[in-house]
Assembly symmetry: C2
Homo-oligomer: 373 residues x 2
C-alpha cells in the first residue's frame, strides 16, 4: 500500500494555492466525492481540491507532478462507469472543477458560449435559453453533470442524432496539460484552419491528456415547434426501418430517436412513481421519436402522424401515440429518462458505452441479450 505521507506533506502548499474554501480534508466533506453515482465504487482521498481558476488548476498540477502525486479530475461525479473514482489506498487527490462554474459569455451572432468546466450542464442550457438559443447537449444527469466531464467523456445524449456528440459541439478548449502548462485553444471559429486540430484530442480523452478548464460551445436556434411520439415496433429491424423512413422524410427535423426494450420499459413502470404508459398493450420494442423545428407555425404533429401512418402501413409500427401537449410529451420522455434510475432501484446492472454502426444495432441488441443472464 502506498505511503500517504507524501500527499499529507503537500497539503499546506496546496492550501496556499487554492485557499481554505478550495481544500476539503474532513472525511465527512470528502466522502461524497469518493463514491460514484451507482454506489459501486468507493475510494478514499486525503483531500478534495476545489480550485477557483485555471491558474489555480495549473499550479496544483505543477506541484503534484513535481511530487508524483496522482490527481483524479472530477466534474459532477455522475459517471456510470466509475470514470471519476479514486482508489481505496488514499494515494490520489481529487480535483473538483465545481467552483469554476462561470458562464463567461454568450455571443448570439457567433452562436457560441464560453463556459468554465464546472458549469453544470443544466445551468449552461438555461443560460443559452435565456439568450434565445439552444445548447442541444442533453443527458439524464444534466442536473449534476458538468461541462468538463461531459467533454472529457464525449457524452452523447438524447439529441445526438441531430446535433452530434459533445465532440461536435466544441469549437474551443482551454486545457491544463500534464506539465501544468495552460493550453489556450479558446477559439470560436466554425472553420478553423490555423493549424493542427488539437481540441479533439482532449475531447473523450477522459482526463488522461489534461484537465479541461473551459470550453467554447456551439449554440443553435431554439426550436419553436416540437412533436413527440411513442411507438411500439415489432422488432429491432423495424426500429431501424422507422429511423430510415424518418430520415428520408425530414432528417433535419429528427431531434431524438430512442430505442427502448420492453424489459427496460417494464423496469420503469415498476420502479418509477408516476410513470405512465400511453399505449394500451405492452410491447417488446419501443421507439421514442421527437421532431423539432424553429419554423414558426410548422405543424409537426401532422407531419409526424403522416410519417408514422406510412410506417404502420409498411409494418414497421404496431401501435403509436403522438403526445398532444407539453405535459404529455414530458410524460413520454420520462419513460426514457428514468431508465437508469429504474435499473438502479431494481438492483445490480451492467453499464456500457458500446458504439456500433447504426446498421448493426439490431445485431448488437440481440447478441447482448443472449449473453445477459
Amino acid at each position: 500500500m502506498p505511503d500517504s505521507a507524501p500527499v499529507n506533506n503537500l497539503l499546506p502548499r496546496l492550501r496556499a494555492i487554492v485557499g481554505d474554501r478550495g481544500l476539503l480534508t474532513d472525511p465527512a466533506d470528502t466522502a461524497p466525492y469518493c463514491e460514484d453515482w451507482r454506489r459501486l465504487y468507493r475510494g478514499t482521498t486525503p483531500a478534495v481540491l476545489r480550485p477557483a481558476s485555471t491558474a489555480e488548476v495549473a499550479a496544483v498540477v505543477r506541484l503534484c507532478v513535481e511530487r508524483g502525486v496522482p490527481i483524479v479530475p472530477q466534474g459532477g461525479n455522475t459517471s456510470m462507469v466509475g470514470g471519476a473514482a479514486v482508489s481505496e489506498d488514499g494515494s490520489q487527490l481529487i480535483l473538483s472543477l465545481s467552483r469554476m462554474n462561470k458562464v463567461r459569455g454568450i455571443d448570439t451572432t457567433d452562436m457560441t458560449m464560453e463556459v468554465e468546466a464546472g458549469v453544470v450542464l443544466k445551468a449552461a442550457q438555461l443560460a443559452a435559453d435565456e439568450a434565445g438559443c439552444l445548447l442541444p447537449l442533453s443527458i439524464s444527469s444534466e442536473g449534476s453533470a458538468q461541462i468538463g466531464g461531459v467533454l472529457a467523456t464525449n457524452a452523447g445524449g438524447n439529441n445526438t442524432v441531430r446535433y452530434g456528440n459533445a465532440r461536435d459541439l466544441v469549437l474551443g478548449l482551454e486545457v491544463v496539460l500534464p506539465d501544468g502548462q495552460v493550453w489556450n485553444g479558446l477559439r470560436r471559429l466554425h472553420k478553423d484552419n490555423t493549424g493542427y486540430c488539437l481540441r479533439q484530442l482532449f475531447v473523450g480523452s477522459e482526463g488522461t491528456l489534461g484537465i479541461i478548464t473551459a470550453a467554447i460551445l456551439k449554440l443553435w436556434s431554439r426550436p419553436r415547434e416540437v412533436a413527440v411520439a411513442l411507438c411500439a415496433v415489432p422488432s429491432e429491424e423495424a426500429a431501424l426501418g422507422l429511423f430510415a423512413q424518418c430520415q428520408r422524410r425530414d432528417a433535419a427535423a429528427i431531434q431524438a430517436f430512442e430505442y427502448m426494450s420492453g424489459a427496460g420499459m417494464e423496469l420503469v413502470m415498476r420502479h418509477i412513481p408516476g410513470a405512465m404508459m400511453p399505449l394500451p398493450n405492452p410491447a417488446k420494442h419501443y421507439v421514442l421519436v421527437e421532431l423539432a423545428t424553429p419554423r414558426e407555425g410548422a405543424d409537426l404533429n401532422t407531419q409526424l402522424e403522416e410519417t408514422l401512418g406510412m410506417a404502420m402501413t409498411d409494418g414497421l409500427i404496431d401501435d403509436a401515440v403522438v403526445a398532444e401537449s407539453g405535459p404529455q410529451r414530458a410524460a413520454v420522455w420520462k419513460l426514457r429518462e428514468e431508465h437508469s434510475e429504474a435499473q438502479k432501484r431494481a438492483g445490480a446492472s451492467v453499464k456500457n458505452d458500446i458504439s456500433v454502426p447504426v446498421s448493426k444495432v439490431p445485431e448488437l441488441i440481440r447478441r447482448a441479450r443472449a449473453r445477459s443472464p
Copy 2:
C-alpha cells in the same frame, strides 16, 4: 542545389512498386503536376508516382524515407495557395493519388460512404446521389478536386453553414504515416468512444502528418425542395443581420449563405460569358441565400420571400429576387461560383483562407479592403 542523383537511382525501385502505369518521368507527362491551377507556382520533379493501392503508397513512403527523398502528395492539384507545388530544384517526388479512385461502398442505413483518396469530389457526390443520398461538400473545384486533398486541407465550401467543413464530414480515415505504416481508422461510427480521436489530427494537416489514402464520409438525406435568392444589402453588417434573421426563422433550412462584394460581382459580369445579373441596379454588397429541405411539398420559396420581406422592412435588404426555376437558381449560383475564374482572367489576385468569428466578418472585410490596392 541538391543533387538529383539519389532520386534518379531510386526510380527502378519505385517502378517495381508502382508499375509502369504508376510512374511518369517524361517531362511532358509530369508538367501538368508541376504547375498549380493559378499558374503562379512552377516546379520540376524527376517523377510523378501514381500508386494504385494503399500498400503501394506505403511501400513508396518507406523507400523514400529510407533514402531521405521528399514526397509531395497531390490530389486534384486545385489548390489556390500552391498547396501541392513542388520545388524548382527537382529534389522532390510527386505522389498523385489519382489512380486510387474507387468508391469502395455506400451504406444507406449508416448513411456513410467509403472512398479512396483519389476519388474526384464530383464523382463522390454523384455516387451518393445515385444511392439517394447527399454528400454535402461542395466547392467550385469539385470537378477536379479529390477527396484526399479536400480532407488534407479541411476544405469548406458552399454548404459549410449547414453541414460543416470537410472535418465535420469524416467518420473514418486510412492514412499512410511518415514511417510507411498504415493507420487504419476506417470506422463508420457516428459516436466513437473507442480511444483518442486521431482522425481529426490528419484532417487539415496538409499532408504533414501522413498521406490520406481512404475515408469514410457521412451522408445526408437529399433535399427535395430548394429555394435560392440573390439580395442586394446596404452594408456588411446588414448581411450579418440577414444571416441572424434567417437563422432564427429556420436555421436547419439554410443550405448556403454567401456574401459577395460589388467589386467581385463586377469582375464576374465582365469576364464570365453568360453571367446574368437578375437585379436591376448594381449594389456594393450581395448575399446569396439558399434554403433546402427533404420535406416533400415544403413551400420554401414562400418561406424565403417572407423572411426576405421582414428583412427588407428592417432595412437589412435593399432589393432581392427569389429564383423561380432550376435554371434561374443555377444562374444565380453561377455568379458565386465563377468568382475565382473571373479573378484569374482579370489578372493577379491575392488568395487567402482567413477565418474569423462570424461576428467579425464585417470588420475583416473592411480592414482587408483598406489594405488592398
